[in-house]
């Protein structure tokens, strides 16, 4: 199971406490992970990826394994540690200025 950590605003919006545990169909990629997340929590549609284009929203960031994955290709494999559930996939609202 992949572990996903949502930002506080979206936890509240989706009525989620703690991490989200997801199983994805096929290879673990950003796209398959987010597809699964939005399937389980339809209210998140449009909140992480733009509706229609499915592009990452401009002020949303993806972090995992101490790396910024925001600009990785959506179909690129996620790090093994994320796919195995050893490390969480973090969805974060972009910050500026500390």
């Amino acid at each position: 199971m992949i572990r996903v950590v949502l930002p506080a605003h979206l936890k509240m919006h989706a009525n989620v406490n703690g991490e989200v545990m997801l199983a994805v169909d096929g290879p673990a990629t950003q796209k398959s992970l987010l597809d699964a997340l939005e399937t389980h929590y339809p209210v998140l549609r449009g909140a992480i990826r733009e509706q229609g284009t499915l592009k990452r929203r401009a002020f949303v960031r993806f972090f995992a394994c101490q790396r910024d994955l925001s600009h990785d290709e959506p179909d690129a494999p996620l790090p093994d540690a994320v796919a195995s559930g050893a490390q969480p996939f973090l969805i974060i609202g972009a910050l500026a200025g500390g």
């Binding site: 930002p7 605003h9 509240m12 449009g46 992480i48 509706q51 929203r57």
Partner: protein, 371 residues
């Protein structure tokens, strides 16, 4: 028992303030949707328990919430606002073409005749409608499809459709306003639109008397007189007596005619209210004195209403959707400020009191008169 429910949108959530008809003591509920910008909260005129909220965030986009129990609980409804057909372009700030991109819902206007019909004014400017209580939305493309669409441009707050007025005698007749395109009218339920900006003069656009391009801040109408419209423009307070076909300035003796809000007394169609602020860059009252100005003659002659309002060191603004009226026998007027206060008058503006202080910056105030 009669009463008033105030639906307050703020930068960091929504609040619901409730009172009986005496309007002396208020219960405050909230923050709902804490941490989100709540641009507008409005109840259905048909079902006072049906309320919609526009929940927005630069990070996480747009959500629409609906309550069917007067704001006690909420459920998200559809947040898909897709422009009809090929979106096209409008003018950007520098005059270059810029694609239409949805950003947020600025205003929600439930139908006056159909419980499940609701309109949404959005940025970038367009008009959407839901016929199923918000479960799905579709654009009414006739507005953007008006030949002038490519020439619309954003005001300082963005290119937003912020005012939707439904003629109470004919639900197919509506007026909308866009910053900075101007005012438009439909007679066929939104299928086709006519710009109604003749008589406006705006020095900040290349042609001050252009058909479109005016930065209209707000429109208001008394339900009994749908052909009489009042407008707060970027500068100037304007009046039309022919449904927007022509406008004339009624700023009269106002100390400044820059502002955002304008509203009409519930029982006196010629009594109107504005909150002047110093200028387009100085969004605060002159000399730090918060004043509501009232005209009992539909404009031109105005009087300052200050009793109970701060008359020193007050540098707040009142945004365009942040004033509202109740319809109790003694008309109540309410407004919220960017300083987080909500002021109320239960005597047509003669006296004011803060019914709550220190909320987050207030974006909108809507009064529901409960019967």
């Amino acid at each position: 028992m009669a009463g008033v429910r105030l639906l307050v949108g703020t930068r960091k959530g929504a609040f619901v303030l409730t009172s009986d008809e005496a309007r002396k003591s208020w219960d405050v509920s909230g923050p709902h949707f804490a941490g989100w910008e709540i641009y507008h909260v409005k109840g259905s005129p048909i079902d006072e328990n049906r309320i919609y909220a526009s929940q927005s965030s630069s990070w996480f986009g747009q959500q629409i919430q609906r309550s069917d129990d007067g704001g006690k609980t909420w459920q998200p409804v559809d947040n898909t606002f897709a422009y009809d057909g090929v979106p096209g372009t409008h003018q950007w700030y520098d005059g270059t073409p810029h694609p239409w991109e949805f950003k947020r819902v600025w205003h929600i206007e439930p139908s006056t005749t159909e419980a499940d019909t609701v309109y949404a004014g959005v940025e970038d400017a367009a008009l959407f409608r839901s016929n199923d209580g918000g479960k799905s939305w579709h654009e009414l493309p006739g507005l953007r499809g008006h030949g002038s669409g490519a020439h619309w441009q954003p005001g300082a707050g963005g290119m937003c459709l912020h005012t939707i007025l439904i003629d109470p005698s004919d639900a197919k007749r509506m007026f909308i306003a866009i910053s900075a395109a101007g005012a438009f009218r439909t007679e066929d339920g939104g299928e086709s639109w006519k710009p109604i900006n003749r008589g406006l003069k705006s020095e900040y656009i290349p042609d001050p008397e252009a058909e479109v391009g005016h930065c209209v801040h707000r429109l208001a109408m008394h339900p009994s007189r749908p052909n009489v419209l009042f407008m707060q423009k970027h500068w100037d307070v304007m009046r039309s007596d022919d449904g927007g076909n022509s406008w004339r300035e009624v700023s009269g003796n106002l100390p400044t005619d820059f502002g955002f809000v304008i509203d009409v007394h519930a029982h006196e169609p010629e009594t109107i209210y504005v909150v002047p602020i110093k200028s387009d860059s100085e969004h605060f009252p002159i000399d730090g004195r918060l004043q509501v100005w009232r005209s009992r003659t539909g404009g031109e002659d105005w009087e300052a209403l200050t009793n109970g309002l701060p008359q020193s060191n007050c540098y707040v603004n009142v945004l365009r959707d942040a004033m509202s009226i109740d319809t109790l026998d003694s008309c109540g007027i309410y407004f919220g400020t960017t300083g987080g206060q909500v002021y109320a008058s239960s005597d047509s503006g003669d006296t004011w009191a803060a019914i709550v202080r220190d909320l987050p910056p207030v974006l909108s105030v809507e009064a529901q008169t409960l019967r």
